[in-house]
């Protein structure tokens, strides 16, 4: 059988793993796809390459297709999220100077309590807290606004969230241009490794089941190539299931570490995959179960309520109509295509495509079309519940 060539773009990050594993371990080939991967220098360029049809799809920040649907940034070409590729996996870090100050003021760096960490950070930072994020339309930015906003810090007066490419974060931290950062793995660990920062919090402590990256394609492509889209969804689902096996982490980190991909020490990548993060240059380690999900709790299912949450947040801070934004956003999270693609497989498919976000405190079994599924805790640090149907 001849394979269908297909190119996906990615940014060299730990959570590009589903694409890399799909190619290297033959999950793409199993679906008849000859998968090529292309690394991009920036999120805006990756988005434009997809929008202009130079590549079929990409590993994309979950808010990017939503922002595009709302007319924020980039070309007006509609992008769809065919599936989620990862949940969580980001860390908030602070400069070593700020960390010392917070420690003196009594903060324990437990790497778990978002209220305590946020309160201590706000107290230590002074007038305006300046935090670097990789992209304006990112879960990094949304979770920071949510977390610090709930603790009383108002943007833009007291909170200045700035876009900085991750390779420049450490430099900016050292130069005093920013007080803190929120980045995806492995950049938090790199800041610790080179002594420029300490990790304060995993973003899973802010929202324990936040969709992080999605597989994005052009809407037109997904509509005109339903068979290819379905094969791509199945490929990603299988790669994500493989990645979720703890016994595969070592192999996965070795593959990701290769010069062609992340070109970093495998040991550092394994820390992110296992959630055993080193949080300070002195070597303090914290275990964070659920730091990064690829598969558990139907992690790859593109919940329309997740798109709704992102849209509600984006609308609030850009002055758009909340209802219209949510309606537009829900259309681009293609739970319909996901269901069609995986109906013939063992994948458990949730009974609904929307849920209350933030309602689960513990793993919860729910019935599905074919059996049952254990959803993972998805609570927000402040106990709020997001109802996608609420006006």
């Amino acid at each position: 059988m001849s394979l269908t060539p297909l190119t996906l773009g990615y940014i060299p990050l730990v959570d590009a793993a589903p694409l890399i594993i799909a190619r290297e371990l033959g999950f793409a080939e199993q679906e008849g796809l000859a998968l090529s991967l292309r690394a991009a220098p920036s999120w805006s360029t990756l988005r434009d390459l997809v929008a202009l049809g130079q590549i079929e799809g990409a590993h994309m920040l979950a808010p990017v297709p939503v922002a595009t649907a709302l007319g924020l940034g980039g070309l007006p070409t509609r992008l769809d999220a065919l599936c989620v590729l990862s949940v969580g996996g980001n860390t908030v870090g602070v400069s070593t100077a700020l960390a010392d100050q917070m420690r003196k003021a009594g903060h324990g760096f437990d790497f778990a309590d978002a209220t305590a960490a946020g309160t201590s950070l706000i107290a230590a930072a002074g007038q305006t807290l300046r935090i670097g994020v990789p992209f304006p339309f990112s879960m990094h930015a949304e979770l920071l606004y949510y977390w610090l906003g709930a603790l009383g810090l108002e943007a833009p007066q007291a909170l200045d969230v700035r876009t900085l490419p991750p390779p420049l974060m450490a430099e900016a931290l050292a130069a005093g241009d920013i007080d803190a950062f929120c980045v995806g793995a492995p950049w938090g660990s790199i800041a610790v490794e080179n002594g420029s920062g300490e990790l304060l919090l995993p973003t899973s402590a802010i929202w324990s089941f936040a969709p992080e990256k999605v597989l994005a394609t052009r809407h037109d492509w997904a509509e005109s190539e339903p068979d290819l889209a379905a094969r791509l969804i199945r490929t990603m689902w299988r790669a994500c299931r493989w990645l979720a096996e703890p016994s595969n982490r070592m192999t996965a980190s070795e593959i990701l570490a290769r010069p062609d991909y992340l070109n970093l020490p495998a040991e550092m990548l394994e820390r992110s995959l296992s959630g055993a993060l080193v949080i300070s240059p002195r070597g303090d380690q914290r275990m964070t179960p659920g730091f990064l999900h690829f598969h558990a709790g139907a992690a790859t299912f593109p919940w329309r309520s997740q798109a709704g949450w992102i849209a509600a947040r984006l609308a609030a801070r850009t002055g758009l109509d909340r209802d219209a934004a949510q309606r537009a956003a829900k259309q681009v999270f293609r739970s319909d295509l996901y269901r069609d693609a995986l109906a013939s497989t063992a994948a458990p498919l949730p009974g609904a495509s929307e849920k209350l976000e933030g309602a689960l405190d513990a793993p919860t079994e729910v019935t599905t079309q074919s059996g049952s599924l254990v959803l993972q805790p998805d609570r927000f640090f402040d106990g709020q519940i997001f109802d996608p149907a609420a006006p």
């Binding site: 220098p41 130079q54 990789p134 992209f135 304006p136 850009t318």
Partner: protein, 194 residues
């Protein structure tokens, strides 16, 4: 003059920036600023308050410009990524050539087209020059390593230069490796043993 455009070029390489400026000047009487600073890019741009921002798409700094597309940015005038009203062919050509343009919302495509055309030509030329330079550098590096490996073999086994080269090539073929990889391993091993 109302037709005068204010253009900011984000480019770290000074020589390249100058050439881009030259070609933009040739396309019309514009006010052109080059920003090479990576820190505070959004702030520096908003101070200039330009009509057009041109940036290399290979630069990770491009993501910083996305902030300008948000209404809440320090820039008063909203900025959009340039899209030709009738088709996206010009944007596509720009992206292929490796340049991205951010344009103040509502500017007529007719005014921006000559600027973008000039930028595309210049960026395109640079892209191929850059690729050529990288390939040449790599070839030189490889030759240096192979020469050193030949030297190691000639000294250690008393071979002639041709024989040393032939041995390297045969070993590479037998092991299914690139010659430069075999040479590199040999040079490293020789360094460790000496």
């Amino acid at each position: 003059m109302p037709d005068r455009l204010s253009i900011v070029v984000v480019e770290q390489d000074r020589e390249r920036a100058l050439l881009i400026v030259d070609s933009l000047r040739a396309s019309g009487d514009h006010e052109i600023h080059v920003i090479s600073e990576r820190h505070g890019l959004a702030r520096l741009i908003s101070e200039r308050n330009p009509d057009v921002v041109l940036v290399d798409i290979a630069s990770p700094s491009r993501d910083m410009l996305e902030e300008l597309t948000l209404a809440s940015s320090p820039l008063d005038r909203p900025v959009a990524m340039f899209v030709d009203q009738s088709s996206d062919s010009l944007t596509r050509a720009a992206i292929e050539a490796g340049v991205s343009a951010y344009v103040v919302d509502g500017m007529a495509p007719g005014r921006i087209k000559p600027v973008l055309d000039a930028a595309i030509t210049r960026f395109h030329m640079f892209q191929s020059m850059r690729a050529e330079l990288a390939a040449t550098k790599r070839a030189l590096e490889e030759r240096k390593i192979i020469d050193r490996a030949k030297g190691v073999l000639m000294k250690a086994r008393g071979l002639s230069e041709d024989e040393a080269y032939a041995l390297l090539r045969k070993t590479a073929m037998d092991q299914g490796k690139k010659m430069v990889d075999v040479a590199e391993a040999l040079v490293t091993a020789a360094g460790l043993l000496s």
